[in-house]
Amino acid sequence: MRFQLTEDQRALRTGVRELLTARFGRERLRAAMADAPALDRDLWRELGDAGFFALRLPEAAGGVGLGLPEAVLAFEEAGRVLLPGPLIATQLAAGTVPGAATGETVVTDVDTGGTVEWLAAADVVRGDAEGAVSVRSVDPLTPLHRVPVQDSGAAVDVPLKSLLTAAEQLGTGARVVELAVEHARTREQFGRPIGAFQAVQQLCAGMLVRVEVARAVVYAAAVTGDPADIAAARLLADEAAVHGARDCLQVHGGMGFTWESDVHLYLKRAWVRARRPGSVTECEELLAAGLLAEAG
């Protein structure tokens, strides 16, 4: 057992982070808010060139030939910077939908209906989007449509999507700890940085704990692919992101309540992701049933 990142995995993470920092910094983030529901196609192709979408495609099929752990690391980085677009559906379509692997083709999935992300921007829509109605999305960076629920519809790769969603949530959770700590170290009230107050320290420490606990099980789920590990990863990563962004806002006080602050963007995205297929109820029930099965 060597449950830490390998050298290659570290290098991958660094590479993705550097790419995203260079190509999707704060200004691009704010600009993307104005552009939505359009996508930055140049960025999308650049991601394709870097192998983001073909990450798990076999080398024989022109892919990078890596596995789920590497995909999780890449999606964690995407979650850190709030990278917009139907990233998960497109990566899953690589090798099946022409152009998805290279970032030429943007793919979104309808699954069983309900909410569909980036319907208007997608080149290929998998599933039946008939009757789709545009929704005024709470997240300015994720256009949403409402599609009638299709009980008979095929939900594609729900556990996999749930795991990659957890990875994005993990990245968001980790990033909001940094934002909170940065603010707490510099913002002064009552003659000292607010991070010197235990009440603020406790908020920040609690955020970190949620992230590190989630990280362990998200990575483990990527290694094992075990449905119960994935359900646990999803539950804890959702919590790390949603609760973390919420606490980050609290640490920022009034400063975080403005549109100009980025904190709300993390919270809103975390809300959107938390509602993707694989609900809290489903995860908890699966984990409960698992207890009986394991304990026999």
Binding site: F3, Q4, R215, V217, A232
Partner: protein
Amino acid sequence: MDLTDTPQEAEFRARLREWLAKALPSLPDRPSPDDWPGRRAYDLGWQRTLYDAGYGEVHWGAEPAVRMIFLEETEKAGAPYVGANFVGLLHAGPTIAAEGTEEQKARWLPPVLRGEEVWCQGFSEPDAGSDLAALRTRARRDGDDYVVSGSKIWTSHAEVADWCELLVRTDPDAPKHRGITWLAMPMDAPGITVRPLRTLAGSNEFAEVFLDEVRVPVANRVGAENDGWRVTMVTLSFERGTAFVGEVVACRRVLGELALAARENGRWDDPVLRRRLGRLNAEFRALWRLTQWNVSDSVPGVGGSVFKLRYSHARQELYEAAAEVLGDPAALDLEQPWVLDRLSSLSYTIAAGTSQIQHNIVAERVLGLPKGR
């Protein structure tokens, strides 16, 4: 990221399982919790058995991953705990190994590994709990001895220990961390009084130790005079990575038992309770993975406070859920499983650093926030 055993680990695990399957059935019955001499004999006997089988040094010499396998497999097999050997194997022993002279190592370490001598810990004091460095037990030099007076609290196995790793204040004028010395005190020295300390769970797991002019040879000092704080810190992080392996395995077993009990008594049909148990499954799976992560980390320490904060809370939640599964009046019946555990679990957010202190540690040492109050 690899969660499978290496060939060496797999071999160790297989050999250990095989050995446990043979060794455990022939173990004597466990003594009752109140039978201190019986517990001493039982725990020393188990350590001797391990020693004879080649597992005596697993807590020290082995790779963390191997130590983890040992703890996981022994817990799963229902083997005895480290028990009375805890301080010797996991605390005083490693301290002596790291900071003691060759003579000290030769004197104290083999009897611990062979299951011959029991150590206890004399750190906490009534007025020095979270603020351990505020300890006031005094030691003055008198010839070749230190003469020690004061009192210690929360000492386990004091009744049956041969030795006590003792922190004393040798320089009352120095800053509080700089006047402390580490001594090995023989528990049969005149002037030592041990008084059992009854906990809220009704058990006498701990004791108070009163020291009245107890003479401890200067030769029993490990490290330099007034350097005891550093000496202690060297080992406080020693076992952090694997400290809770057995307990997490045990919690996951309890959780499974709770699910079965709930199915048995019908409470499984309550979705609120059932989903709560499912959530706890997520919790302990994650804690298990975090343990594996920490054990694999080449720089141990950082993960310790994070783990402890979450684990101590999760384990309390586990026994709260147990009360709901038990229902009425079983949840109030000390004869029922888990009810005493629920009481004991109340200490988890207090002992070895309260959750409040752990939050501070994480905030200041891990996150780098300014020193708070």
